[in-house]
Symmetry: C2
Subunit: 249 residues, 2 copies
């Protein structure tokens, strides 16, 4: 199977590497608007880079921002099956006359990091039986966790992922920012953070909760609020109230 | 060295097990008010349980809630060196005529979980040179990461730990709650959550941030806000604004 990729961002960076490793697949080209990142990516995986969209492939993977998917679709020949990699964008809201599908890897991708695609859940959807089957087969070459999923469920999983990844990471940022303001090292929290996640996954987050809010320890909460700058104080306050609400009797 | 522990909560549960494993230490008794948890803990580590405070030890570790430390101190003979395990309570704010110290394990403890104390940072402080040295020696038997730290730094690390543990866990709870409302499994997020933490620690949280707020993708943000219940919407909104603020140019 011959494949082309449109986009040269984080998802493209990882999928291109994954596909390059498959003997059953020929990754023919990567196309994109950002000349610099396109050139860097294409040369790093030894694939042709184009600023137009060739038509010599069996499948095109669109790895661009949600807002640009429709624009890119408008430029693709409906003769070629196409899949996009978004968690949020609903299949039925896109206009495309050809075979269209979703090929969504549920992971946080950053260029340059090594990620084991084998464990990444791939969520598949299509308006066409044959493409759905092709995408499932392709995903199964990359990962052991491939699931068919409709747009509604995929969207909800994506929102949950925003809390579990984006917001978790921002809490870690606020924590690291507070420490660096006081010239204290963030590394001291590493064992705590690792156990936090292990406990949340092995127990479940509701049973894993600890801390002053969980204990309704208002004197410690108030002492902490007094120490924080405005932005951190607002977040401390609203998250604390949400924890108290969760465990009120 | 003979040691007694006051308190039968999560910290006591883990420290008692750690101390029981040390040949240089004799854990003589555990004392506490909660008869049920005291009995369960004492019998599980095969140590005497008392509802009073014996005086036959070289060191007493107070493992009770912040609000109760002073009350317990009032009942202890000033002839016995005492240390408490709180992250927040300042040494100089406590009244005790004898030798007093801090023996703070920086970790989230839940009864019944296995925790490798060897990697847990122990933060040590004392009003007495000899006790400081004793506590440092004791902590070094349990952990490879022992640090002297004053109350001010320890308090700031504890506040940072609230963000890194308590609030991270609550974001995971909100994520799991959203999924369970939609009959979707939280487990699907496990690879994402594990990579989130790895990336934040290996890169640093500021560089690791991804997601719609990081990309200023307002259409996805607004779509997500429309899907959420009141409590999650408020948290989504304030955390998103904080992320936007962090990366504004």
């Amino acid at each position: 199977m011959k494949i082309g990729i449109i986009g040269s961002g984080n998802v493209s960076w990882h999928l291109a590497r994954g596909l390059k490793n498959l003997t059953e697949i020929e990754l023919c080209w990567i196309s994109g608007r950002n000349k610099e990142s396109l050139k860097a990516l294409a040369s790093s995986v030894e694939v042709n880079a184009f600023d137009f969209i060739p038509v010599d492939v069996d499948l095109i993977l669109i790895c661009v921002n949600d807002d640009n998917i429709q624009t890119v679709l408008n430029q693709v020949s409906p003769k070629i099956p196409v899949a996009y990699t978004s968690g949020t964008v609903s299949l039925e809201k896109l206009n495309f006359e050809g075979k269209l599908g979703v090929f969504y890897p549920l992971q946080t991708f950053t260029k340059g990091r090594q990620i084991d695609l084998e464990k990444v859940p791939f969520l598949i959807e299509s308006n066409d039986d044959e493409l759905r089957s092709t995408l499932t087969k392709l995903a199964s070459m990359l990962s052991t966790n491939v699931q068919l999923m409709n747009s509604e469920d995929r969207k909800n999983i994506h929102i949950a992922a925003v809390f579990a990844n984006n917001f978790v990471n921002h809490m870690l940022y606020l924590s690291s920012d507070l420490l660096s303001q006081k010239n204290l090292p963030f590394e001291i929290l590493s064992p705590l953070i690792e156990e936090t996640i292990k406990k949340a996954i092995e127990l479940n987050p509701k049973d894993a909760q600890s801390g002053p809010a969980r204990r309704s320890d208002t004197s410690t909460i108030n002492m902490h609020l007094n120490e924080l700058d405005e932005r951190k104080k607002n977040i401390y306050d609203i998250v604390t109230k949400s924890i108290l609400e969760t465990y009120k009797k």
